[in-house]
């Protein structure tokens, strides 16, 4: 990475973020700046709030009902909880990749263009332009060579690793600033995990990536910075090397050493 971490400007800024599911408070006064163009790992034991925090970043939690949020989250300077924010536009710029690959039961080609069609951005583009967009998106996730001769095959026939790459490729035509990943390798074997991690490496710098992972080795390998959460609170945030070599907080030390959680 050419630019030192310390001088990168924040892409996402949460200020005093609290979130309740009914009476249960899942996030407690979370304030953090997530830097632009790097990979930030969210780590912590099950139930610590990391997935809830991730889902707050594109307001996906609201789909679950009975959710109340206070505080603000700014993405590139705009509070995403402002009343004038369009959820559709927000999710275009803040894309999400889930634990299990979720390709649509249509062709590979249509999967890549699906986001554009939903957002009505495909109309007005020629077929050649759309084909070119499909190719560049699939190339960006290192899937083009595998599927170029079968773009009209159903996406569900791909291997899980290829499906997950396709799910990432599907976000790219919408030109997101942020890609959220919720344990993107948990359904994959070691080879598939390696492939997704290599892909994340190539996306680094062009997108701000936030990844939830239970796999400590993956957090160490892939992320530039880590955020450690415990019982809904942000305990520590810093460069990954520091978090795993000389964490500041005893709770972080116990967790990364495997003595907690």
């Amino acid at each position: 990475m050419k630019e030192p971490l310390a001088v990168r400007r924040p892409c996402i800024s949460a200020h005093d973020l609290c979130l309740w599911y009914g009476d249960f408070q899942a996030l407690k006064h979370v304030s953090v700046d997530i830097k632009e163009g790097i990979i930030t790992g969210l780590i912590g034991p099950s139930g610590c709030g990391k997935t809830t925090f991730l889902r707050s970043l594109n307001r996906l939690n609201e789909r679950y009902g009975n959710v109340r949020t206070t505080g603000t989250i700014e993405v590139l300077g705009k509070n995403i909880y402002d009343p004038d924010v369009s959820l559709g536009e927000l999710r275009k710029s803040v894309g999400m990749v889930f634990q299990r690959p979720n390709p649509l039961p249509v062709s590979i080609h249509e999967n890549v263009l699906f986001g554009l069609r939903v957002h009505d951005a495909a109309s007005g583009q020629s077929r050649r332009e759309l084909d070119s967009l499909v190719e560049s998106s699939l190339r960006e996730v290192a899937l083009w060579d595998d599927v170029k001769d079968g773009l009209h095959r159903k996406a569900t026939t791909l291997t899980l690793e290829q499906q997950q790459k396709l799910c990432i490729a599907r976000l790219l035509p919408l030109k997101p600033s942020v890609i959220l990943m919720d344990e993107p390798c948990s359904a994959l074997d070691a080879e598939g995990t390696g492939a997704i991690e290599r892909l994340m490496d190539t996306l680094r710098g062009r997108y701000t990536i936030v990844i939830v992972t239970h796999n400590m080795a993956q957090a160490r390998r892939t992320s530039d910075e880590c955020i450690f959460m415990l019982l809904g609170e942000l305990i520590e945030h810093g460069p990954t090397v520091d978090m795993f070599l000389k964490p500041n907080r005893a709770e972080t030390e116990m967790y990364v050493e495997g003595r907690y959680g």
Partner: protein, 216 residues
């Protein structure tokens, strides 16, 4: 206690055991000088073989623990520092063996004047080696910093001893061999103090993750 923690404890005990051997070698080499006793030299040389065995065993165990457990945080710092402290102790042992060689050179001549500064230098250096190991055992940063501060005394005593010995040698050409052996001995003791200082710096990194080397 988890197995990994038990294995870390065992490794620490092994380093401390190695430290006791190294510390004793330094003290015994000085004793050989004071008592003018060549028999002590054999004892020091035996210690070197023990240190070499420790070094190989400890390095092997540290590499195994890093490989098997992929440690993080303090466990990782501990294992990294164990490898370094292991090297420092082995070098302290090597210097003690060198000291014996210089003592042998010196003993072939009759005693000159009392070696007050050299004796004081040896005492402070032994105190530093002991203190460094105690700071590692207790993982005590304050103790480590106090030991680091003693190195200035050793350096000053070395400068003074060096100056005095040169002046002595200049007066009497027959004294050259004796002077040379004592200069080399003083230099070797000064290096032992440096290794003790390094161990203390490694203790600070182990406990706090702070690199205090080359800050003077």
């Amino acid at each position: 206690m988890r197995r990994f923690e038990l294995e870390l404890d065992a490794l620490k005990a092994q380093i401390l055991e190695m430290g006791v051997v190294a510390e004793r070698m330094v003290a015994r080499a000085s004793e050989a000088l004071v008592k003018r006793d060549r028999a002590i030299v054999a004892d020091v040389l035996e210690g070197e073989e023990t240190l070499d065995r420790f070094q190989v065993e400890i390095d092997g165990e540290a590499v195994r623990l890093i490989t098997v457990y992929t440690p993080t945080a303090k466990d990782l710092r501990f294992l990294l520092m164990v490898v370094r402290i292991n090297t420092e102790l082995e070098r302290i042992g090597d210097q003690a063996v060198n000291n014996c060689e210089y003592v042998e050179m010196f003993l072939s001549d009759p005693p000159a004047r009392p070696l007050h500064d050299l004796s004081r230098m040896t005492d402070v250096t032994c105190e530093m080696v002991h203190g460094a190991l105690a700071a590692f055992a207790a993982e005590d940063v304050d103790m480590a910093r106090r030991v680091v501060a003693l190195d200035d005394q050793v350096d000053e005593l070395y400068r003074q001893t060096f100056k005095d010995l040169l002046a002595e040698g200049a007066d009497d050409p027959d004294m050259v061999k004796r002077t040379m052996s004592l200069v080399l001995l003083a230099r070797s003791i000064e290096r032992i103090a440096d290794h003790a200082e390094n161990i203390c710096e490694e203790v600070v990194f182990l406990v706090k993750g702070e690199d205090i080397r080359h800050q003077a």
